[in-house]
């Protein structure tokens, strides 16, 4: 088997598309934005090329690109309707957008996150939409943790996972009412392009599902003590103000948020413990906050009245 060096080829493709958009390209800015097993992203000037996960499905990706292209107020629109093949990897092209500043927590666009999610969740669901992949990602993160072996943080995370209903473990369909969901929301999924406000990126998990899942990660950060109550409040208030349907009928938001927040705490803890062990480093304070939350989750059974599927 020939090992293809993906990065230089992806960079060449990004350059090629960038030069069709701007023939007078100065070629001054660019580089690798992300290089992970589930996706590699390269920038050339105002153009970005993404190589999707090796197991990405062409048909589903085309449908997800089409969804994003049809929602230019919510998603950064792709440069083209279909992926191209690069040695077996699907590659898509996008305009470059500025990310959230990692060094300035006060500038985090919590209102925009809440508003964009509400707009997405209010979109009528097209029949062709694929299934949102959030619970599948959580299940994969937990499967990865099984390979870690003997580590004191493994058992609490698995115990917390065991409190979840089948749908949140990707073992049963998600409860209705369904909505169009991002599926992997975090602050790295927002960018700003010149002349526009914040937009969502990353369509890989986009699809039909339980909208509360998209609120689950901020909810998890808040419940783990990583997100301050006033920032959590800004996010939640913006989501409600924009008519977000996940919390519509719920008097107590946590009746709806509990399961997704548990699931995303477990997913985040599973990933971070797996990575710490693989890197041979001890758990840091954020890791401990996540694992401690898993211990508390395991001590309180989930409210199975919501979202239980028989």
């Amino acid at each position: 088997m020939t090992v293809i060096a993906l990065l230089p080829e992806l960079a060449a493709r990004a350059e090629g598309v960038a030069h069709t958009r701007v023939p007078t390209c100065s070629c001054e800015v660019g580089g690798t934005l992300a290089d992970r097993p589930d996706g590699t992203v390269v920038r050339h000037a105002d153009t970005v090329a993404k190589a999707h996960a090796p197991d990405a499905d062409t048909g589903e990706l085309v449908r997800r690109l089409s969804l994003a292209a049809g929602l230019p107020e919510v998603f950064l629109p792709p440069l083209g309707p279909a992926p191209v093949d690069l040695h077996g990897r699907l590659v898509t092209f996008w305009p470059y957008g500025s990310p959230v500043d990692p060094d300035d927590p006060d500038a985090a666009p919590w209102e925009a996150v809440g508003t964009l999610l509400a707009l997405l969740h209010r979109t009528p669901v097209p029949e062709s939409a694929p299934v949102m992949r959030g619970p599948l990602k959580a299940a994969r993160a937990v499967a990865g943790l099984h390979a870690v072996g003997d580590h004191p943080a493994v058992a609490p995370v698995l115990d917390a996972w065991a409190t979840l209903p089948a749908w949140a473990r990707a073992e049963a369909p998600m409860p209705r009412p369904a909505a169009l969901c991002h599926g992997d929301l975090h602050l790295g999924q927002l960018v700003r392009v010149p002349g526009a406000s914040w937009r969502l990126i990353d369509v890989d998990d986009l699809g039909v599902g339980t909208p509360a899942w998209d609120l689950g990660r901020p909810a998890a950060w808040f419940a783990c003590g990583l997100l301050a109550p006033w920032e959590w409040g800004r996010f939640l208030d913006a989501y409600r103000a924009a008519g977000g349907p996940a919390l519509d009928a719920a008097e107590d938001a946590w009746a709806v948020l509990d399961v997704p927040a548990r699931a995303l705490t477990v997913q985040t803890a599973a990933r971070t413990v797996t990575k710490a062990v693989a890197d041979g480093r001890p758990l840091d304070e954020v890791d401990h906050a996540l694992v401690d939350a898993c211990r508390r989750i395991a001590a309180f059974p989930a409210d199975l009245a919501y979202g239980s599927t028989k």
Partner: protein, 103 residues
Amino acid sequence: MQCPKCRAPMHTYNRNGVQIEQCSGCRGIFLDYGELESLTRLEAQWSQQAAPPPPAAPHAPAAPQAYPAAPQPAWGAPHGGHHGGHHYGHHRNKGFGRMLFSS
């Protein structure tokens, strides 16, 4: 029900619509799932009525003390309560960096 600590009988009381069980022996209190959240919510409403927070300027970080206690799940971490945002200064930058990634 019986007190899990001293085994004396527990009596049910209703406090502002929240049912709590108090032990007739050691005076310990038992809360069912969700009842702590209900009490937190009542406390938040009470403190809002007692001292309405000044309207915050848009995008300015709100003063932690002025924000009413946000409800959270039974398994939530302690959020510093009335002692303010001390806890966040500690975790904040590191935790914020993690929010930018899917990990």
